[in-house]
């Protein structure tokens, strides 16, 4: 299947008062047309930074210091990482071909505008619709994301909607221009569990309807299992394991992936959960050798000396561990 997005050896650096921090350090990913790639990892492992660099939204202190991000539009290949973050070219892609849903539905909507206004904006911006046309589309979109009384809701302000509804509005905004790629950065973390399930269900349904690819960023393995075809596990700015979802869940290679899977409560009954010992080291003081070594119960001598690279352990299944 054709690729939509390819990230090749991406490196992102942030300037801080303590010096440069490598938030993403050599990440390579590929996302196929119409498929879902899950990106998992703990807080601070660089998943959101990876997503933001696709959109060119790193902000003034962040900078892509190496690698490429390729976006395929038909037969064209656009190097997203080379576009000026404030320039016209990337702005024409943002919200139009690549859209993003943020974690916090409470703060991602501007409280001083109606939700309709906010959905209409990208339609007017990218598709040059007139206001009445855009409004009609906004009502359709609200209906599509399952909001009751869409013709009334369209004129309401974000504070008049519940959290789940606001996330639905965010999805409607993101899908307004039929993007080829939807980046969902922990889209359900701020919602309670039942609403979470509804929102994920909605995303799956819209994906099969509209055929967009999804980059699903989460720390919740359950969501990945339910939604994604491929998964990449990140730890401290690097991909430590990636492959098809089934492979990773049934035969996890990397001790970190295994730790993540073991720390999810199973539905089969009360089992003592196995947490991963220790905590994530700071990016400024990375351990020598393998980044996971201080927390790994199977470390070898070589782990302290050299950093492992991704290698194929099964067809399409890569892991970065000296034990492979």
């Amino acid at each position: 299947m054709a690729h939509l997005l390819e990230i090749d050896d991406l490196r992102v650096r942030f300037r801080t008062e303590f010096g440069a921090i490598k938030a993403v350090d050599g990440v390579s990913l590929a996302l196929k047309l119409g498929q879902t790639l899950g990106l998992v990892g703990e807080s601070g492992c660089g998943k959101s930074v990876t997503a933001l660099s696709i959109m060119g939204l790193l902000g003034p202190s962040g900078q892509i210091s190496g690698g490429d991000i390729w976006y395929h539009r038909g037969n064209d290949r656009i190097r997203l990482s080379g576009l000026h973050p404030r320039g016209k070219a990337i702005r024409a892609i943002r919200g139009n071909e690549v859209a993003m849903i943020f974690q916090e539905p409470m703060t991602s909507l501007n409280p001083v505008f109606t939700v309709g206004h906010q959905i209409m904006e990208s339609l007017i911006l990218h598709q040059k619709l007139s206001r009445p046309q855009a409004r009609r589309r906004a009502v359709e979109l609200l209906q599509k994301v399952g909001i009751p009384w869409p013709d009334k809701r369209v004129d309401q302000y974000p504070h008049q909607l519940s959290g789940g509804m606001r996330q639905r509005v965010m999805i409607a905004m993101a899908l307004a221009c039929h993007p080829a790629l939807l980046i969902a950065d922990e889209p359900t973390t701020a919602l309670d569990v039942t609403v979470q399930a509804q929102v994920l269900e909605l995303m799956l349904q819209l994906q099969s309807e509209l055929g967009m690819a999804i980059l699903m960023i989460t720390h919740n393995l359950g969501i990945i299992a339910g939604m994604a075809q491929d998964v990449a596990v990140m730890y401290l700015g690097r991909v430590v394991e990636r492959g098809p979802v089934r492979e990773i869940f049934h035969r996890p290679w990397h001790p970190y992936t295994r730790g993540l899977i073991d720390s999810v409560p199973p539905l089969t009954g009360p089992v003592r959960l196995k947490p991963i010992p220790g905590s994530v080291p700071e990016l400024r003081s990375l351990p020598a050798g393998c980044r996971f070594r201080p927390r790994c119960d199977q470390a070898l001598g070589v782990c302290a000396e050299m950093e492992p690279v991704l290698k194929e352990v099964a067809p399409d299944h890569l892991a970065a561990c000296w034990r492979c």
């Binding site: 959109m55 939204l57 919200g95 859209a99 943020f102 703060t107 409280p111 504070h159 519940s162």
Partner: protein
């Protein structure tokens, strides 16, 4: 907000809610009434009073308040009430024009400084600091003296000094607003910097700014009156309240009403705009509302 609190469709809009809260507040109501009265008097002055505000009548000099002249007449025989009513026009025009100048300069500079940061912010904010370090009275008097008298020049003189507070206010609001996720979300749908600044950030910061503008109108009226009182503003026989105050000053012992009533008019007007501004701030600030609701 939890889901239970979510409102059903058709409940009141933001504007209706704002209006309701504004009416509930007594001081706000008083302020609104004063401002409305001011506007009505200013617009309909020739219909409200039959006297001429500037025509001198030496047959009725320094008449004490009576049925015919409720607030008395001045040393040129002009009806004080009539002059105060026509003075509403000057107060309103000066207050609004000065505030408009402040708003435009202050909002644009504050927006640029807060949004872009780095050297843009440094230049703008140091400029504001320099302006702030010069005493306003001195600056206003010098400017007014340099430009010469007249209502128009008072507006320019006061307009040139008061925007500093707006710049700081807007910059501070923008600094916190630009970190909001909805600004990033706006960027994520492909908005340009200018669009984000004026369409997304500005409206969000406007609540406190509008509230401050109402207070600013009050201050502008006071300033203009002060300059006119010093003889640097509206020139005789313009029925401007500050100038009337200056006129009546010498007759305080014999004809107290000439200076007292324009003074009261200034006070009531300033009070009205202050009440209104306070209420507006409580009503229009979306963040203050968020705090109340949480």
């Amino acid at each position: 907000m939890s889901r239970e609190q979510a409102k059903t469709p058709g409940s009141e809009s933001f504007l209706e809610g704002a209006l309701r809260r504004l009416i509930r507040d007594k001081a706000a109501l008083a302020g609104t009434a004063i401002i409305l009265a001011l506007i009505v008097l200013a617009v309909f002055a020739p219909w409200v009073t039959s006297h001429d505000p500037v025509k001198q009548d030496f047959g009725r000099l320094l008449t004490a308040p009576s049925w015919e002249y409720p607030l008395g007449t001045d040393q040129y025989g002009r009806d004080v009430l009539t002059r105060i009513i026509y003075g509403c026009r000057y107060a309103l025009i000066i207050g609004l024009a000065v505030s408009a100048i402040h708003l435009v300069i202050g909002v644009v500079l504050g927006l640029l400084a807060g949004y872009y940061g780095s050297w843009v912010e440094t230049v703008i904010m140091r400029l504001t600091d320099v302006m702030l370090s010069i005493p306003s009275v001195v600056l206003a008097v010098v400017l007014a003296g340099f430009l010469g008298g007249g209502v128009q020049n008072v507006i320019i003189a006061v307009g040139a000094i008061g925007w500093r507070a707006y710049t700081r206010l807007v910059r501070a609001e923008v600094l916190s607003t630009k970190e909001e996720t909805f600004v990033e979300a706006a960027r994520a749908i492909g908005c340009s910097d200018l669009r984000i600044m004026f369409r997304h950030v500005l409206p969000y910061t406007l609540g406190p700014v509008i509230a401050y503008t109402s207070l600013g109108v009050a201050t502008a009226i006071l300033w203009a009156a002060a300059l006119s009182f010093l003889g640097l503003g509206a020139q005789p026989p313009t029925p401007e309240w500050g100038a009337m105050l200056a006129d009546g000053r010498e007759y305080m012992a014999d004809a107290w009403w000439i200076a007292t009533f324009p003074g009261l008019a200034i006070m009531v007007t300033v009070l009205g705009f202050n009440f209104f501004g306070d209420a507006l701030r409580d009503t229009l600030d979306p963040k203050a509302e968020g705090r109340l609701r949480e």
